[in-house]
């Protein structure tokens, strides 16, 4: 056993494809680490995952990993149309940096996962799969969208089942981390949210990250899968959305009140070893997800 030299151990990042979001994340999603995106449905989790799988194909000089990606999806159906649409705009804006042969979608390997045990089984096959990736660039990004869907129905709310569940969390996480280290992979997982019902969370110390910022659609939420899973990820990002009336910026409305509503979306860094707590607004367009600079908002 020998210590590693920290000077030669720089963390590679995979660009998100937007300079503003990359600025917030200091270059993008880090390799050799697990990044989690937490959000309610319709906030743009899958959008970021798809966009990242495309941008991982960019050469290293352009912020990518020059690599294919493995996309494990647990929510159905897989959004092929959306990926196709994103790939068109990705190709049109990055054509000179891409390999000329083939469609970028060919370099995203999609696999559906139905249960947690199946996920473990697939993960044991990832290693030979990466080693034998002939023809295509090696896989250097693993996306699991979403990890919560695997765990939210299968387990009962009894101590024994919950213990089995958290054991699985640690097992999955440690295998992902081992893969990430072995092949210098970036791992991106998504997670759902649950509503916070208790009026005074935090009194019992049951507070993971700074819950203060976790508001979405005017509701107080916290990431699903609890404390055990929170110990399994290295960084946690949170996407929030909020309906806003353009005319009156201070008013908050839940629900639909006509055409003057717009959705304000924000990306928050809840915790990460290398990032301060911070946030940034973003929009989702036809061409993908893009950060909005702070000055433009005011």
């Amino acid at each position: 056993m020998r210590p590693q030299n920290l000077l030669q151990l720089t963390t590679q990042k995979c660009t998100t494809g937007c300079p503003i979001l990359d600025g917030l994340l200091r270059g993008g999603i880090p390799c050799n680490s697990i990044t989690e995106i937490v959000a309610e449905s319709g906030s743009g989790k899958t959008q970021i995952c798809l966009q990242l799988s495309l941008h991982a194909q960019l050469p290293v000089s352009h912020g990518g990993l020059a690599a294919s990606s493995l996309y494990l999806h647990t929510e159905f159906p897989f959004p092929f149309r959306r990926l196709h649409r994103l790939s068109l705009s990705f190709v049109s804006s990055n054509a000179p940096h891409l390999p000329t042969n083939g469609n970028p979608c060919d370099r995203i390997f999609v696999q559906s996962v139905h249960t947690a045990d199946q996920l473990l089984e697939i993960m044991s096959k990832i290693e030979p799969f990466i080693e034998n990736s002939r023809g295509q660039p090696p896989v250097r990004l693993i996306v699991i969208d979403s990890v919560a869907a695997l765990f939210r129905s299968e387990f009962d709310n009894t101590p024994i089942e919950l213990k089995r569940r958290s054991c699985l969390f640690f097992k999955i996480s440690s295998e992902l981390k081992a893969l990430a280290k072995r092949f210098n992979l970036a791992v991106l997982v998504t997670n759902q949210v649950v509503d916070v019902v208790a009026p005074n969370v935090g009194i019992n110390g049951l507070k993971i990250g700074n819950l203060g910022c976790l508001y979405t659609s005017g509701r107080r939420v916290c990431p699903a899968l609890g404390l055990a899973w929170a110990n399994c990820v290295n960084s946690r990002l949170f996407l929030s959305r909020r309906e806003e009336v353009i005319a009156d910026k201070n008013g908050k409305f839940n629900g639909e009140s006509g055409e003057c509503n717009q959705t304000r979306r924000q990306l928050h860094v809840v915790f990460a070893p290398h990032l301060p707590e911070s946030s940034c607004d973003f929009v989702i367009t036809r061409d993908g997800i893009f950060g909005v600079e702070k000055q433009l908002l005011d």
Partner: protein
């Protein structure tokens, strides 16, 4: 030290050697009357020899406890007290935290630090690994650090940031307090600080056990290591370990090895731990992971928690510190005092 170098008469020396007393330690635990019988001299003469021997033992060797020691290496509480006072602490870069910790992280002790994800455990770990390298001229230890990363949360770019801020602070200190002393220029570079952190990335609990076993050899080759940070001890023991009784045994063996390291090489051991929920009488409470028997193994236990929007550290268990809490914050420059200056330290 040999008998032949004792300042005693030649005939006494001859008698000692012929009776089989060749080293000072052989004289250290016998009585004057016994020696008188062995050497066939008067008791007062034997007492004289013993006095001379114990004097030169105290003066000549590093062991201060010569005559009174029953077992090799044993110390009196008084000696330990003096030694403890002379030992240096590793600052956390937050004066409030240092305050409740009695000056900082103690050498020769095992300190466990636990808290929820995102509270700043890894940040504190990196900060300690950087701060242990503050040179002696600046009130530091001038040592090196071993960082055992089991979770993959150590980020080089973050360590570099903290190291740069640490060097800036030292230069600042230089300018304010030592205007006339040119000798104490800060010669350290952030690069040097990173080079002096021995970083091990661990991917399974077998690797973790093997590394802890290997540390003794490693540290005896790198004597300037003054802190071992384990981030975190928990992760690999929370899966794949069905047999809880054997887990407890393995963990306490690991802890005793770390305690031994701390003692033998007078270095600080910092163990980071996760938290888990514990069901007591129907309600759920947060406690540090790995169970009750583990909680006995560390000398000090610090719990980090959120209070409103502020981070707090609480001394949960310590033989010498009083139970107290202090706020701290995680800034781009590292761990610092909390910005809100009111109610900074709460003694209980």
């Amino acid at each position: 030290m040999e008998i032949c170098r004792l300042p005693i008469s030649a005939s006494q020396r001859g008698k000692l050697i012929s009776a089989g007393y060749t080293s000072l330690s052989s004289l250290s635990s016998i009585s004057a009357s016994y020696l008188a019988g062995e050497l066939k001299v008067t008791e007062s003469e034997a007492l004289g020899i013993l006095n001379v021997a114990s004097h030169s033992h105290c003066g000549g060797s590093e062991m201060s406890s010569g005559k009174s020691s029953i077992i090799d290496g044993a110390q009196s509480a008084w000696d330990m007290f003096h030694e403890e006072n002379s030992l240096m602490h590793i600052t956390t870069s937050s004066a409030d935290l240092d305050n409740i910790l009695g000056g900082g992280i103690h050498c020769k002790e095992v300190t466990e630090i636990g808290g929820v994800p995102g509270i700043g455990k890894t940040q504190l770990g990196i900060q300690i690994a950087v701060n242990v390298q503050i040179p002696r001229d600046f009130g530091g230890l001038g040592g090196k650090a071993i960082y055992i990363d089991t979770e993959g949360s150590f980020m080089v770019e973050r360590a570099l940031q903290i190291a740069e801020a640490c060097i800036e602070d030292m230069s600042e200190y230089n300018r304010f307090l030592r205007k006339d002393l040119q000798a104490c220029e800060v010669r350290m570079q952030p690069k040097d600080i990173l080079e002096n952190i021995f970083y091990f990335r661990i991917c399974s609990y077998t690797e973790q056990i093997a590394l802890i076993d290997y540390l003794k050899k490693f540290i005896s080759e790198h004597k300037d290591v003054k802190v071992v940070v384990v981030d975190s001890v928990t992760f690999h023991f929370r899966h794949d370990y069905e047999d809880m009784a054997s887990r407890t045994r393995v963990l306490s063996e690991m802890a005793s090895k770390l305690t031994n390291l701390a003692r033998t090489f007078s270095l600080a051991v910092v163990i980071l731990n996760q938290v888990t929920t514990k069901q007591t009488e129907g309600s759920y409470q947060l406690t540090l992971a790995l169970g009750d028997s583990w909680s006995h193994t560390c000398t000090n236990r610090i719990v980090l928690y959120w209070n409103g929007n502020e981070r707090y550290a609480h001394v949960d268990k310590s033989p010498s510190l009083r139970s107290a809490s202090a706020a701290y914050s995680v800034t781009p420059r590292g761990i610092r005092n909390s910005s809100s200056s009111s109610k900074r330290i709460k003694m209980m």
